[in-house]
Amino acid sequence: MSVLVIAEHDNSQLFPSTLNTVAAASKINSEVDVLVAGSDCGDIAAQCAKIAGVGKVLCADAPTYANEITENTAALVKAHVSNYSHVLAPASTFGKALIPYTAALCDVQAISDISEVVSEDTFVRPIYAGNALQTVQSSDSVKMITVRTTAFELADAESGSAEVITVEDFGATDWVQFVDQNLSQSERPELTSAKVVVSGGRGMQNGDNFAMLEKLADNLGGAVGASRAAVDAGFVPNDYQVGQTGKVVAPDLYLAVGISGAIQHLAGMKDSKVIVAINNDEEAPIFQVSDYGWNEDLFVAVPALQAELESN
């Protein structure tokens, strides 16, 4: 039986997390289908059909799925589950809500945030903020899984030619009413898939000082992230948080500015290819995981770095 991947998108864009999840699915079985639940999501389904390795795209296009109401999408997934051995979604807030909910509806124990596929029924996942790796084997007849997207490559988005099949709307719950969304607007790349991430911590002192990091990020074509302390202090919105309980990133370059390097923060960025830390405390734990450390006041170092990049 094949693997079903639940696409993550916002009806206008297919998120790269879907490509990572298809790549993870391909390691389980060569037969991969994708389910697109959305409203006016025909373009998204067409894009999914072009992902390498995808056999079929199931498209549920209805107002029911305009917003990602967990209950509605779960009912849809449950209706299709008997055709599949595995159901995978990215370990984003979307997938992390949907997969356990659907699994419980189907009396299945979900497996969270896998970073490796060992075999059809055995997976590796980080626990304790990434301080241990658990290898877990499932005996459920359907495996329901969320995927740590940074641990898998991006499936090729252009070379596939799957057929798109329209599937039925399974109806909306009347328990949940969507009110509105207050989304961070940004021209910068999305945090979890950016090649460069510039993150600031409590050392930034206030939200205005983040402008320095935005400038750096723009120069490097990167995204801006933050520690929990910076979010809690209100310097930046919640969706900037990198860490155990925020977003997991693994860019080519992660620049940590005024961040001490608590284990909960490291959990979200220690798989980055190159880590640079700027901190005026030479004892800061972040230096222990950094490829390049700079023990300097950030209000000196960041403008100097900006000037150096501009002159290069």
Partner: protein, 249 residues
């Protein structure tokens, strides 16, 4: 309104865990334990709803070994009214825990269950979603705000792209995110008072729930360590390294 708050006992967030030499798990002997931080946030929110006159009773429930009673006492010392301890020494998966919590919630006739969004030991992020599904109640996951509204709840959720507002009907199941509140510390008088508050003890069998896991932990390993690199002392040196050595810019 009656509020149920499931709380979990975990290794303290400040402890650096070590993987056991036999790769069966992490070292737990003589390690400081605490209430899961997200559960503290959940208890705090329940207490605030009660203090604002929206709830009459706050019940904390923990599924776990004998020592879990300490975690329940922590919740009582924060201000919860009474405790339920579902005692078991078995390793339990979120689905089994959710099944146990469902019976407790139904027995107590609760209008709102507030869980933590995630336990910081197993990093599952599952139990609340599962509980909502099997109870057939609306789910509010990752909430940073909750208010009573039109007989239901108005909630704000922390999602990857920002914030989302929903209205959900009552009874409901919600999971607490970091920005919901800042939990209080228990005062000494309240810690003393908590010793007299009742904790009802029962077993999963008493609740008619079979403890049967679907997953098997094959092994637990230490992750590959990251080595500290070098220190630089100027912007030109750093940019040079990033360009010519690491080749990332």
């Amino acid at each position: 309104m009656k509020i149920l708050v499931p709380v979990k006992r975990v290794i303290d967030a400040n402890i650096r865990v070590r993987v056991k030499a036999d790769n069966t798990g992490v070292e737990t002997a003589n390690v400081k334990m605490a209430m899961n931080p997200f559960c503290e946030i959940a208890v705090e929110e329940a207490l605030r709803l009660k203090e604002a006159g929206n709830a009459e009773e706050v019940i904390v429930v923990c599924v776990g070994p004998e020592k879990s009673a300490e975690t329940i006492r922590t919740g009582l010392a924060m201000g919860a009214d009474r405790g339920v301890h579902v005692a078991t020494d078995e390793r339990l998966e979120p689905l089994v825990i959710a099944k146990i919590l469902k019976v407790v919630a139904e027995k107590e006739g609760t209008d709102l269950v507030i869980l933590g969004k995630q336990s910081i030991d197993d990093d599952n992020n599952q139990t609340g979603q599962m509980l909502a599904a099997i109870m057939g109640r609306p789910l509010g996951s990752y909430i940073s705000k909750i208010e009573s509204s039109d007989g239901g709840f108005a909630i704000t959720r922390e999602i990857d792209a920002g914030l989302e507002s929903l209205k959900i009907t009552s009874p409901a199941v919600v999971t607490a995110d970091l920005r919901l509140n800042e939990p209080r510390y228990a005062s000494l008088p309240n810690i003393m008072k908590a010793k007299k508050k009742p904790i009802e003890v029962m077993s999963p069998e008493d609740l008619g729930v079979e403890v049967k896991n679907r997953t098997n932990v094959v092994r637990v390993d230490e992750p590959p360590a990251r080595e500290a690199g070098i220190m630089v002392s100027s912007a030109s040196e750093l940019v040079d390294k990033l360009k010519n050595e690491a080749k990332v810019i």
